[in-house]
């Protein structure tokens, strides 16, 4: 009788160990990051450009990625012209942050805080536009050549090394 019981238990344990019945963990379920989508009327979609660099504002818990059109990217990666030649367009998307549900230890983009564009219109001259809100709306624009302002700062940010 005891032997039979142990035998049964062995079988039950084996079936338990081999069997499978898992539901998909919600963290693993397939989905897009819709929170971080760019929604609104923008002159161009920055994500269609190529990446130049990125940065994180730890104090405000935001993360930004700078993109460029071909002229801007080519120049950012070779620095033939300082800061940028005519025709270069830089765009910066700044997102809030959320914990990566799939990796504790990582933060990923949440809602868009701002989108900025810097266009070099003539040697030493550029235009600057800034969009905020949901949907994104233009909140600032300007022309100038003062390297101390925001646009000048963005043009001075160097490219991330991508061998």
């Amino acid at each position: 009788m005891r032997v039979a019981n142990v035998f049964l238990l062995g079988v039950v344990v084996a079936v338990g160990v081999v069997g499978c019945s898992d539901k998909t963990n919600p963290r693993v379920a397939t989905k897009l990051n819709q929170d971080a989508m760019l929604v609104g009327d923008l002159p161009a979609n920055p994500l269609q450009g190529r990446v130049i660099t990125s940065w994180i504002d730890k104090r405000n818990a935001t993360m930004s990625t700078m993109f460029g059109n071909d002229v801007a990217v080519q120049n950012a990666r070779t620095k033939a012209v300082v800061p940028y030649p005519v025709g270069a367009v830089l765009s910066v998307v700044t997102w809030g942050q959320q914990e990566d549900a799939r990796w504790f230890g990582g933060n990923i983009p949440k809602g868009v805080k701002a989108v900025e564009f810097v266009t070099v219109t003539a040697p030493g001259a550029y235009s600057y536009e800034r969009f905020e809100g949901l949907p994104l709306k233009k909140v600032a624009s300007g022309e100038g050549g003062d390297p101390a302002d925001r646009a000048g700062y963005l043009m001075s940010v160097r490219a991330a090394v991508m061998p």
Partner: protein, 329 residues
């Protein structure tokens, strides 16, 4: 009638006896499972260790204590092989000798394996429900890892010196790269044959990560096949030809505006989808190239086990971690 029934019963009894004897004989086929000495146990507060001891140590330590029903074959065979495999991946009785940051990296991975439902092994949990990590216990582990490391004055001074030298090294790396980025490099394929793809830097960004667990930041890029799959919503499984690149940089110290930027280049990693060609590694060809000299990672093709083990909890999402930003065109 009665005779037939009696002989049937006799046959059944014989079958039962043969099974039972066979079963008892199998009990003698026992792979050895010993408990080697605990050489350097994980350094962590007692409440953290206690949780791991309860849920993980049976497999991931040299203090395995199997309940009697695990000692019954065939359960014993399965548990033994799990313990041997588990100790190879992570042994809490031996990782105490690693630098503190590396021990913490293991704990981050541990929390993630728990959160994603990958550990304790689901097969083990079904039979040992008491090994489940409760939400409260999970919070204890997470809080321990979120708390900033308290550096004493010497450690803080050393960190500042390291940061300064890392920053000048990153400047030198940038200067060299920006003058040579137009020159094609000769980069070796990975040990598993996966080729390096220099064009990754011209792909579309699909997400980015700020990894405070190891002070790095990453951009995740996808080739045209990947971007089309996102636009059309066909991302599980990803179509053959999909290729992801993940670029990793060290995080710099905050600048005057409080911004942390991309510091030294760490590595670029690729995942190339081909369900047939890469069937033995879950349909993906993995590769990692380290440093600006882009040295293939690993000693042999065995490196890819690291990739597949850590991506395994994402099996139901085609082994992909990244949640692509919506709105691709």
């Amino acid at each position: 009638m009665i005779v037939v029934a009696a002989s049937r019963i006799r046959t059944l009894v014989w079958v039962a006896v043969i099974f039972a004897v066979g079963f008892l004989c199998l009990q003698l086929v026992r792979p050895t499972l010993t408990n080697p000495p605990v050489t350097a146990e994980l350094q962590a507060p007692p409440e953290v260790r206690q949780i791991l001891r309860n849920s993980c140590y049976n497999c991931h330590s040299n203090e395995t204590q199997l309940p009697w029903f695990d000692k019954v074959v065939p359960a014993y065979w399965l548990v033994t092989s799990d313990v041997k495999e588990a100790r190879k991946h992570l042994n809490f009785s031996e990782i105490g000798k690693l630098p503190a940051a590396q021990q913490k990296a293991f704990l981050f991975e541990a929390v993630n394996m728990i959160q994603l439902g990958a550990m304790p092994l689901p097969s083990y949990l079904r039979v040992h429900p008491g090994a489940a990590v409760t939400p409260e216990q999970l919070a204890v582990l997470r809080n321990y890892l979120i708390a900033p490391a308290d550096l004493d004055a010497t450690a803080a001074a050393e960190a500042a010196i390291r940061a300064a030298s890392a920053s000048s090294a990153a400047d030198a790396e940038y200067d060299k790269w920006v003058h040579t980025s137009n020159v094609a490099m000769d980069v070796k394929p990975e040990f598993n044959g996966v080729a390096y793809i220099p064009d990754y830097k011209n792909w579309k960004v699909i997400s980015s990560t700020d990894r405070f667990d190891n002070h790095t930041m990453r951009e995740i890029l996808g080739n045209d096949v990947a971007v089309k799959a996102i636009a059309e919503g066909h991302i599980n499984p990803w179509p053959d030809g999909t290729t992801f690149a993940k670029v990793t940089w060290a995080q710099t110290q905050p600048d005057v505006n409080g911004f942390v930027k991309t510091g030294a280049f760490v590595q670029v990693e690729l995942m190339v989808k081909d369900a047939t060609k890469y069937a033995s590694t879950e349909g993906w060809g993995f590769g990692r190239w380290r440093g600006t000299e882009l040295k293939p990672y690993g000693k042999d093709a065995g490196f890819q086990n690291e990739c597949t083990s850590c991506h395994a909890p994402m099996a139901k999402n085609d082994y992909v971690y990244t949640m692509p930003i919506g709105g691709q065109q």
